[in-house]
Symmetry: C2
Subunit: 298 residues, 2 copies
């Protein structure tokens, strides 16, 4: 199978359709790149793009996209409800298949180095690419936003990982990182009692003493008269989908509430579901190379 | 995702390495074709090749392979333990992804037409490509073998689907068909009593009143001191892996025997395991388009 990396750049333009399309055009019908989705928000004045490809193709694509972003967006006049520190605001790389997290960290470094030298924009590495624990969290890096960075960047603690400690007036700064893929997975409960869904969500999630990589909340599904434990599995390799599912079931048992279904929102890597099949079928010694489709592209 | 068809040609040479390699070379490092496996048996004097590709690439590859087969194998001097009717003996096409069975039947017809006209070899269509129910079963078609076909072919009932009713002395005849992918799936039992494994196998399989598309037998795993229900799931779309698994579990319960594991032998299509995850996680409204890897190649 080809090495595949997902890239989800966020840039600071969500209103001017012409500019948005010009920037997205860089990854549209580009050889070796698959544009999966992009959506703009006018209030946030921000666009999120999702595309895939081999590390090499993704590297070239995001540099070309950065060029279009810096040509077309001026942060000195930018207003928007969403926190942001640059024209190209955040660029995470996510390993999808046959790519290690280390390779995504290297990719983040290569892209960071190029953006700093080509466009004179200071680069901060975050999450798995972070150069210190206090720089892992994107929100901590971005605190103060574009406007605050002219001061913040002079603090040694916040000197950029690539580039000189000088904010690019038009382009701002940018956070580039590597992280695991997120799976949005909701479990439907056979009760209309939101209180029960809330309690279960609290017990299943990390901050409530539950599973390490689960974020969860209770939600009411009015049209079906049921409730739901809505989850984000932020590391499906370490906290597998089946573990989150079984834990919801287990907690629901206490209230005599049954699980009436579940749903996967958006995309997820094949491995996240294959792992569940392996668990429930008790498969021994399985290798992803036994997946026909994987063999075709290896 | 690209349309992918699997092709598993069987040809009547399992001893002469030079000839075998010459024939397999046709699909080795061929652009757009993935050779997954080939194995020869000297006693059977036969080689089985497995390769994949788009319907168009597979069509060209198998015609080129047929040419090499007919150039190098002479049925009038062939001896071997395995039933056979031609130099190129059997050619099944198996839908793997984004290809319907109807497309594989069409492919079998296109290839059959070309082999009959180019090489003057009579062609019989079998399984899903069969032109009559009595021609579905390969064993029924091949009955009498190469030697018997000089008589059999004169019978109107056994006139070929493509080509004239005249056996090609050097090439014999060939069966070309379309069928679903087969999943080899074994369930390990926590007992060394082969009798129990045998009884469960009989209850689970079609001929014993069990699941329609399951073939099964009991097997002893000496080195682990356990037994196994060894199964061939001949239509995983209609009889899903989880149904076979749960039925083994259910029958084993009766003897207080637990399922201690399972194994998938060789390759299987992604969908066969994704379906199991959907079942156990009770996922509603899932689409294979939610699989990231699938989106990349569509």
């Amino acid at each position: 199978m080809a090495k595949i990396v997902e890239c989800v750049p966020n840039f600071s333009e969500g209103r001017n359709k012409e500019v948005i399309e010009k920037i997205v055009d860089v990854v549209r019908s580009r050889e070796g790149i698959k544009l999966l989705d992009y959506s703009s928000d006018g209030d946030h004045n921000r666009t999120v793009v999702t595309f895939l490809g081999t590390p090499q193709k993704v590297e070239k694509a995001i540099i070309d996209m950065a060029q279009k972003v810096y040509e077309n967006i001026d942060m000195s006049t930018h207003k928007g409800a969403h926190p942001r520190m640059g024209a190209l605001d955040v660029v995470p790389f996510i390993p999808i298949s046959d790519v290690s997290m280390d390779e995504c960290v290297e990719l983040a470094n290569r892209v960071g180095m190029q953006i700093a030298s080509k466009f004179k924009v200071p680069v901060y590495l975050y999450e798995k690419a972070a150069t210190a624990p206090y720089r892992e969290n994107l929100a901590d890096i971005r605190k103060g936003q574009y406007e605050g960075f002219f001061e913040k960047i002079k603090d040694d603690k916040w000197s950029p990982d690539y580039g000189t400690p000088e904010v690019n007036i038009k382009g701002g700064c940018v956070a580039i990182g590597a992280r695991v893929s997120l799976v949005a997975f909701n479990v439907n409960l056979g009760t209309d009692n939101l209180e029960i869904a809330d309690i279960i969500a609290k017990r299943v999630r990390n901050i409530g003493g539950g599973l390490r990589f689960v974020k969860a909340m209770g939600v009411k599904i009015e049209e079906r008269n049921i409730t739901q434990v809505s989850m984000n599995l932020v590391n499906y390799e370490k906290t597998a989908v089946y573990r989150a599912f079984e834990m919801v079931k287990m907690e629901a048992n206490r209230y005599g509430v049954s699980v009436v279904g579940s749903e996967v929102i958006g995309l997820l890597p094949m491995q996240a579901l294959i792992e569940c099949a392996q668990y429930y079928l008790q498969i021994e010694n399985f290798s992803m190379d036994q997946i026909l489709e994987k063999r075709i592209w290896e």
